[in-house]
Subunit: 296 residues, 2 copies
């Protein structure tokens, strides 16, 4: 990555991390346990790629209002909420996440569950408040809430997780795996990009362009995660070492090189859809490059 852009992305990540704790209730306030768990889940180390996407897209279309930072943080809240849920004993039963104990291991299942609901709830309140504060011409608060809900619902996180849970390893072919991960990961990347474009009051055709880019970027990102799980140690990924051993992954279906090739293809699609934007889409091209380098 060009050092200027790498620096800019890191700067955006730090802005998100500085703002996140200010957007949830103080840990000292009742119910303390749930508030501490919300903060724990939300501030555990992460790449913040989804909120960075929101910020980069909004900036691309000329929106520099500080409200976009809150909108980006709402996207990260939904992501953190879904991670808490996915890690629960009745789901993936994970003990380690982002280098720390998973939220239910640290706070108990009941508190983790309430924290996950709390983060989702907070995200919706925040998106609605941002929609109101931005006062856009083309998009209303309802559009923003609608796009976020679509990323979470049956066509998004929930739909992908459900199919993941009900799939036996022998049922999983490439088509089904793509379905699962375009929902589990792709849908929230999509919303992250769309919210950024909406926040900038982007024209409909630009919004669609960003949608295509973000969806493909998200799926490529998931494949790079699978690759990292095989190629890196748990110290590097911050997850349970070789947690995917029992899981069907893109790497298992396609091999390391096949998975790398698929990720590259998706990223090429992603970048292609930015063509009409010309040079100003450069930060998004660099973001795609960054995702591509993760799985190598």
């Amino acid at each position: 990555m060009k050092s200027g852009l790498a620096g800019r992305l890191a700067q955006l990540g730090r802005a998100v991390e500085g703002r996140l704790p200010q957007l949830v209730p103080p840990a000292a306030e009742r119910p303390e346990s749930v508030h501490r768990a919300m903060l724990y889940a939300l501030t555990s180390p992460g790449k913040r790629l989804r909120p960075i996407l929101t910020l980069v897209v909004a900036e691309l279309f000329g929106q520099t209002s500080p409200v976009v930072l809150d909108l980006a943080c709402a996207v990260e809240m939904v992501h953190a909420s879904s991670l808490v849920l996915d890690d629960l004993p009745c789901m993936d039963d994970a003990s380690l996440r982002r280098g720390r104990a998973t939220t239910h291991r640290e706070f108990g299942e009941d508190v983790a569950l309430l924290a996950s609901f709390g983060l989702l709830n907070r995200a919706f309140a925040l998106v609605a408040a941002c929609g109101q504060r931005l006062q856009l011409r083309r998009y209303g608060t309802e559009d923003m809430v609608h796009h976020l809900a679509a990323a979470i619902g049956s066509g998004g996180l929930i739909g992908g997780q459900a199919l993941d849970l009900e799939s036996r390893p022998e049922d999983l072919d490439l088509e089904r795996l793509e379905y699962i991960h375009s929902h589990k990961t792709g849908a929230l990347f999509l919303a992250a990009g769309e919210l950024g474009a909406m926040a900038a009051d982007a024209r409909r055709r630009n919004l669609e362009m960003i949608s295509r880019y973000a969806k493909n970027l998200g799926l490529a990102f998931q494949i790079s995660d699978d690759l990292l799980d095989v190629l890196a140690t748990s110290e590097e990924t911050g997850k349970d070492s070789h947690q995917d051993d029992d899981k069907v992954t893109f790497v298992k279906l396609l091999g390391v090189e096949g998975a790398q090739h698929l990720a590259e293809e998706l990223l090429a699609f992603a970048v292609e859809s930015l063509e009409p934007l010309g040079r100003k889409a450069e930060p998004l091209r660099q973001l795609a490059l960054f995702v591509g380098q993760r799985g190598h």
Copy 2:
């Protein structure tokens, strides 16, 4: 209850029950398991008192748009979502609810959890859509989403459930029990009333009047539930028989007569706050009367 009003409330309940299944994804659509669980949780028999409150309040202030029915259904979705959550093994570990197996007993914990998230998600999308469709002068979509989120968050359902979980029986005095239930039950009644008033573009002072009424009605309703658990059989309540045996309830702290007295006091407060509305508040007085009769 006067037979005319009783009939009207029953009619509103049926309208809600007719509309609810139309507002969630079809059970035949992917992911089928989650969609069936959402429908199961949402359509299990219930009194529909919260959505009825939304409808009655909106009508009181002259709003008869069919959009209010969808808004009322969103409130019921939040309620159903919270019941699924509360019944989980790591929470109250209940097996029976509204006369049927609890959602996780019927569909498994993982699917129940996704259904609960799905209902919450759908409720937010629906409230935002209703706000948009109603095009009000005094209240925006953001206000409606904000009031719903407040009823769900740390000052509402989540806050009440958290304190309930962390309280040892010996810690529970009347103050703490009131705190828990004004959050677990009162907050969503509050939002139900407020959304009804907002939907009718009611003046701020009328909104506040409804808030006071709904909060007190909700807490009285919870006490009447405690009373029913002692006075009625599980066949009548549809819950685990004497499920509250290990729990601190208003009845245990105050005795049957003391609890009945507290409920009556709260309902008197509720009705008092309607004074300035005169005769047109009659349906809300009858609703209070109905709640009062439950615990006798």
